[in-house]
């Protein structure tokens, strides 16, 4: 049989088990010509790349890694849709299956399913170096003969064998079409026993009025009561259901009960195919991967190494990112100053300096942390440790209703929730992944530190315990971190019992062999993910920053400012312009006075801006938390990012925007602030604690919400996150303030 269809573009789908280097091969083949495709209603994404072969454009689709083509959810159905062409998309013209040469037995399970799709198929035999290092000898020619499809040995991470792979693809797509030569399963016979094939034929006949692809009929027979039955038979006659049940009963009686028959039959087929293909060493070689594994999963040593490793990762994120973040901030401040100097005072200057530059800055300032975290995550993934980390932490995480796979994403979230949420892609179970995403923002990220630092330094007394090893400020900081963790555990347990209730997903996963990480692969993944954040989240965060700027700037009613201030400012400007060199000391004094007045003017304008009005409007709501309208106002302004609260407080307290958490002036101002009528101080210890608790639990981070939207594919989840976290934050702050005041009063 030979089919040949003339086409302008060929679609080639890539499938493979996880950890087989599929994405590495995809990147090596398509280079930079990639884009991410999203399918409606699913949370997985498929990447599409293109390359030109023999003058023919080839579209390459990278499908999510999977051990089996047995769809149990819409997410897993994507692969079938792409391969077989359902729901409006054309079937793939060719399939490349990537297999791990050192682990052929299990990898060929998926191959046996792919071959049943009856699409032209090519086998890329990856990681041949690892197979060799284990003393395995593979007869590629024999494997090719057994499978009756082209088999090409490659080493994707070192880009070896790619030319041969491309030329094999070319030879398959002669004449612009793809030729199917023979039946791939003819050499080894069908996978399934005869009674099963008979039932299959019977079922296909039953569905003949609206025929399904043969593979889907087979899945219907195999996947009892599963997703497919529901999806494919919903509008068929009840008779079909009865016949299906009867067919399964007959198979069980014949000793081929579904679903067990599938694994049994496929692995028997794999054994037939591999007969003589793989020669193993007489005695199993103790590989260096085994030796490393023995150490890294050792009860004591393994745990110790794990803890040290996580600490190194964590420390480096802070240590390395700190100077980079400092430079980014300094650079943005410089750009702001330059723009400020070049433009006349007014709305445009304010828009550029306080809106655009600050908005871009709020995206850029997190990039160092995000990139460094992605670097570590890519490193851990590529060397094979990621799966071990999940293995080591599983029992602990199970107690929180999650699995070991949630550990690294949640740990990353202590630096920044964004890479943490993006790292949840390793969790294949949708409910576990969603739970992890929803609690990740509760980990105290680095953006909360400025808030904690400022308030602790200003209001928590410096009391030492145990001779200064433990201090009250230190304990307070620790309490904030613990609060986040404890609330996250409670929320996760609650979610898993209510909204995201379901069967515990299996933790049956491969622990891949260790290998040297490839620099190219690691850097590529780091930039790919970092760039994805900038491109998709950046624009929205920027937009939010502009909106908040506008709320803080307009209506910009200068008549609200005390006319005396305006007059004095004009006078000072004139004096400064006319000043001579001899008046140096006076000039300094005038400049100081001018800066103070300008800050006062800015404060007055902010108090009468939309933001200020909103702050005053919500004062009744925040008063039970011990807050005045100024704190409420700062809390609203910090919606795009928590750390903005510090500089907003700076403006409100007439200190200008250049205040940070270590500024003594802001500390003093906060300590001196009083309620207008009673003259009582606004900031007391309970108020400071209430603000800290609020910021520990709130979702004041536009970037996180945008990333949740992107990872879950709908606005429902970020909205849910925002509502539940704000509610928790409010209740937490309320309890803290009320209990604190009562204790202080008692």
């Amino acid at each position: 049989m030979s089919i040949s269809t003339r086409k302008d573009t060929l679609r080639i789908a890539m499938v493979g088990n996880p950890n087989t280097g599929k994405s590495t091969l995809f990147n090596a083949l398509s280079g930079m010509r990639q884009r991410v495709g999203n399918y409606p209603g699913v949370t997985v994404e498929t990447k599409t790349g293109s390359l030109t072969l023999n003058g023919c454009t080839v579209q390459l689709v990278d499908l999510p890694g999977t051990y089996s083509l047995a769809p149990q959810s819409p997410d897993e159905m994507v692969a079938i849709d792409v391969l077989l062409g359902c729901r409006g998309c054309e079937p793939a013209d060719m399939v490349i299956v990537i297999v791990d040469a050192s682990n052929l037995e299990r990898n060929l399970y998926l191959v046996s399913q792919v071959l049943e799709l009856r699409r032209p198929t090519l086998l890329a035999l990856n990681m041949t170096d690892i197979a060799r290092s284990r003393g395995l000898v593979l007869d590629v020619e024999l494997l090719e003969k057994q499978l009756q499809i082209p088999v090409v040995p490659i080493q994707a991470n070192r880009r070896l064998g790619l030319d041969r792979l491309k030329s094999r693809i070319e030879s398959l797509c002669e004449n612009g079409g793809v030729a199917v030569v023979g039946d791939p399963l003819a050499g080894t016979g069908s996978v399934f026993p005869e009674p099963f094939q008979d039932e299959l034929a019977g079922l296909a006949e039953l569905l003949a009025d609206r025929p399904l692809p043969r593979y889907l009929v087979e899945r219907l027979l195999l996947d009892c009561g599963g997703y497919l039955e529901h999806e494919l038979l919903a509008d068929r006659s009840p008779d079909v259901h009865a016949q299906l049940a009867a067919a399964r009963r007959r198979l069980a009686e014949a000793g081929h009960a579904v679903p067990g028959v599938e694994a049994q039959a496929r692995y028997a087929w794999v054994d037939r195919v591999l007969e003589g293909v793989v020669t193993r060493p007489d005695r199993r070689m103790q590989t260096w991967s085994d030796r490393i594994d023995a150490v890294l999963t050792h009860k004591l040593g393994g745990t110790l190494i794990f803890l040290v490793l996580m600490m190194v990762v964590f420390q480096s994120v802070f240590r390395w990112a700190e100077p980079l973040m400092g430079w980014t901030e300094a650079a943005m401040a410089l750009v702001g100053d330059l723009a400020g100097a070049a433009l006349a005072a007014g709305a445009l200057r304010s828009l550029i300096v306080d809106g655009v530059v600050a908005g871009v800055g709020s995206v850029l300032v997190f990039l160092p942390q995000i990139f460094i975290l992605f670097l570590f995550i890519a490193l851990l993934e590529d060397c094979g440790y990621m799966a071990r980390a999940a293995y080591l932490m599983d029992k602990l995480m199970v107690r929180a209703g999650l699995s070991g796979k949630s550990f690294i994403p949640l740990l990353s979230s202590f630096a920044c929730a964004i890479p943490g949420i993006m790292a949840t892609r390793v969790i294949e179970n949708r409910r576990d992944r969603l739970t992890t995403i929803l609690v990740a923002p509760l980990m105290s990220c680095s953006a909360r530190l400025p808030v904690y630092t400022l308030l602790i330094a200003a209001f928590v007394p410096q009391t030492d315990y145990l001779g200064g090893i433990v201090t009250l400020p230190g304990l307070t900081l620790l309490a904030m971190y613990l609060l986040g963790i404890l609330v996250a555990v409670a929320v996760a347990l609650l979610l898993k019992r209510t909204l995201l209730k379901g069967e515990t997903p299996p933790f049956v996963m491969e622990l891949p062999s260790y290998k040297w990480p490839s620099l190219r692969v690691v850097l590529y993944r780091m930039f790919e993910r970092g760039w994805a954040f900038v491109r998709r989240a950046g624009t929205l965060i920027f937009a939010v920053a502009i909106v908040v700027w506008a709320a803080a700037y307009y209506p910009h009613d200068t008549s609200r400012v005390d006319p005396l201030i305006t007059q004095r400012l004009e006078q000072l400007d004139k004096q400064l312009a006319a000043a001579t060199d001899a008046q140096k000391t006076e000039v300094e004094k005038w400049e100081q006075e001018r800066d103070d007045l300008q800050n006062e003017q800015a404060g007055e304008l902010l108090r009468h801006s939309f933001l200020g009005m909103a702050g005053q409007a919500i004062e009744p709501v925040v008063k039970p938390l011990g807050w005045d309208w100024r704190i409420g106002c700062a809390a609203i302004a910090s919606f795009p990012a928590r750390e903005v609260v510090v500089s907003t407080l700076g403006v409100i307290y007439n200190l200008g925007t250049d205040t940070d958490e270590e500024s003594p002036a802001l500390k003093n101002q906060l300590q001196a602030a009083t309620w207008p009528h009673s003259g009582q101080p606004v900031f007391t210890l309970p108020v400071a604690l209430s603000i800290m608790v609020f910021f520990a639990l709130c979702a004041q981070c536009a970037a996180t919400l945008v990333v949740i939207r992107r990872e879950t594919g709908s606005w429902r989840w970020p909205l849910f996150t925002f509502v539940y976290m704000t509610l928790l934050a409010y209740i937490g702050a309320l309890m803290t303030y009320q209990a604190g005041s009562w204790l202080m009063g008692a």
Partner: protein, 75 residues
């Protein structure tokens, strides 16, 4: 005959059957724990769970509760 979850570290055996048709049971089969397949318990995580198995030439991690589904005969 016994359960895979009751194996001592280093013990080997052959799979007799896997219980259950739910996702856990199906996944165990897909990963290669079919009837007659040799399996070795290589070790456990520091907290005693999950287990690390050697099966079909690769390392597989399963929770103790999942391993309890696998009926094995000791070699």
């Amino acid at each position: 005959m016994g359960r895979l979850s009751e194996f001592e570290i280093g013990q080997s055996g052959r799979v007799v059957a896997v219980e259950g048709h739910d996702p856990v049971g199906r996944r165990l089969l897909e990963m290669g724990l079919t009837q007659g397949c040799p399996v070795t318990l290589v070790g456990t995580a520091p907290l005693g769970d999950p287990l690390e198995l050697e099966v079909r030439g690769y390392r597989l991690s399963v929770r103790r509760s999942e391993a309890a589904r696998v009926e094995v005969e000791s070699a």
